[in-house]
């Protein structure tokens, strides 16, 4: 497994590609519905300053080790 690092330079591009946006508080939202994304593993909204997109159906998660671990276990 390799990674692409999200930087201030490519963040907008990445969000656009996944049809996401940021709200005024800096949380990631669905670009169409404008609803905040919620991490399926932590249950919390996702800050655009600290997040990951995991393989599969482009799962947006908070940067907690347990989010990665649950995603790996779910996709065993």
């Amino acid at each position: 497994m390799k990674h692409i690092k999200i930087t201030e330079e490519n963040k907008r591009q990445i969000l656009d590609l996944f049809e996401k946006d940021m709200d005024e508080d800096g949380f990631i939202i669905n670009a169409k519905t404008k609803k905040r994304m919620v991490c399926p593993y932590s249950g919390e909204p996702i800050s655009a300053d600290d997040f990951s997109i995991l393989p599969g159906s482009a799962v947006f998660v908070n940067n907690f080790a347990f989010c990665f671990a649950e995603h790996i276990a779910r996709n065993r």
Binding site: E19, S52, F64, A65, A69, R76
Partner: protein
């Protein structure tokens, strides 16, 4: 001009692709775009380039690194595209993304730690395959934390363990400790080689439920209250769940060597009545870990 100057870069970087292949892709893509509209030349070049990158990479058997490089290139070139055309870029990007070999992160070192650590122990790997999602995830975390400790990443370990405990409570902490201490080997010995999902989960739950009476984790600061350590050992020995009791302490060499005299002193004073004391010491960086197995007949 910028796009044209970078046109040959992906093939050079990836070491694949051919001018003929690019020409064919150009024809395929061009058919979908109104080439007479002003400004579309740049769009066509961008899309052709991205399509070329994807087809070049997927025509072989790309490794994760090649896929990640190609995806990064798409992000770079797609930036020059008008918003509507970014959807087409996403389609091409998604062909690489669907390979499930790359993750995207503001803190990739976190994912690298977890994705990079497979189970070295085939027995733990086998158990991981049959446990429910949350239990399996905690085995993954325990395995990752074990490797972090061996590499001396104690600060990251502490931070992530606290996050894990906040999420899963003491139940999750016990499962992680079961792996990081190596105590899971005792459970696997009891489980044997042939087991069903139900048998594995039953044995696993039995160990997790009783873990505080099977294994005691002592922190160096606990030695300031030796009486409390003694009480924990006596309570566990009184409620003995196995024919053994495991004690663990991690810290400096000076810290960990306090535990054996304490236990021996308890035996001398008839507070403990074990038949054997088996210590084993390990070291990672400046951190020492001592495990004591007390056997009871």
């Amino acid at each position: 001009m910028l796009i044209i100057s970078h046109f040959a870069l992906p093939s050079i970087l990836l070491g694949i692709g051919s001018p003929m292949g690019s020409k064919k892709k150009e024809e395929n893509i061009e058919g979908q775009i109104d080439t007479k509209s002003p400004g579309n030349t740049q769009v066509i070049m961008g899309i052709i380039l991205i399509s070329s990158i994807v087809n070049d990479v997927l025509s072989g058997n790309p490794n994760p690194e090649q896929i990640a490089i190609a995806m990064d290139q798409i992000l770079y070139y797609a930036e020059a595209l008008p918003k509507d055309w970014k959807k087409k870029a996403y389609y091409l990007f998604s062909r690489l993304w669907d390979r499930k070999r790359v993750f995207i992160s503001t803190r990739p070192e976190l994912g690298d730690n977890i994705y990079g650590e497979s189970f070295d122990d085939t027995r733990i790997e086998k158990l991981y395959r049959v446990l429910p999602q949350k239990e399996a995830a905690l085995l993954v975390l325990g395995n990752t934390f074990s490797k972090m400790l061996k590499r001396g990443l104690h600060h990251q370990y502490k931070e992530q363990k606290e996050e894990t405990e906040a999420k899963y409570g003491s139940w999750g902490a016990k499962i992680v400790n079961l792996v990081t201490t190596g105590d899971i080997q005792y459970m696997l010995d009891e489980l044997g080689d042939n087991y069903s999902k139900d048998t594995a989960l039953k044995k696993f739950n039995e160990w997790v439920d009783n873990y505080q009476d099977i294994s005691i984790l002592v922190s160096p600061s606990d030695f300031e209250q030796e009486k409390a350590i003694r009480n924990r050992i006596i309570t566990a020995a009184t409620n003995l769940k196995k024919s053994f009791l495991l004690l663990h302490v991690s810290g400096t060499y000076r810290d960990v060597t306090k535990l054996v005299p304490l236990v021996e002193d308890m035996e001398r004073n008839d507070l403990l009545n074990y038949s054997d004391l088996i210590p084993s010491l390990s070291k990672s960086g400046f951190c020492h870990s001592l495990k004591i197995e007390l056997k009871f007949d």
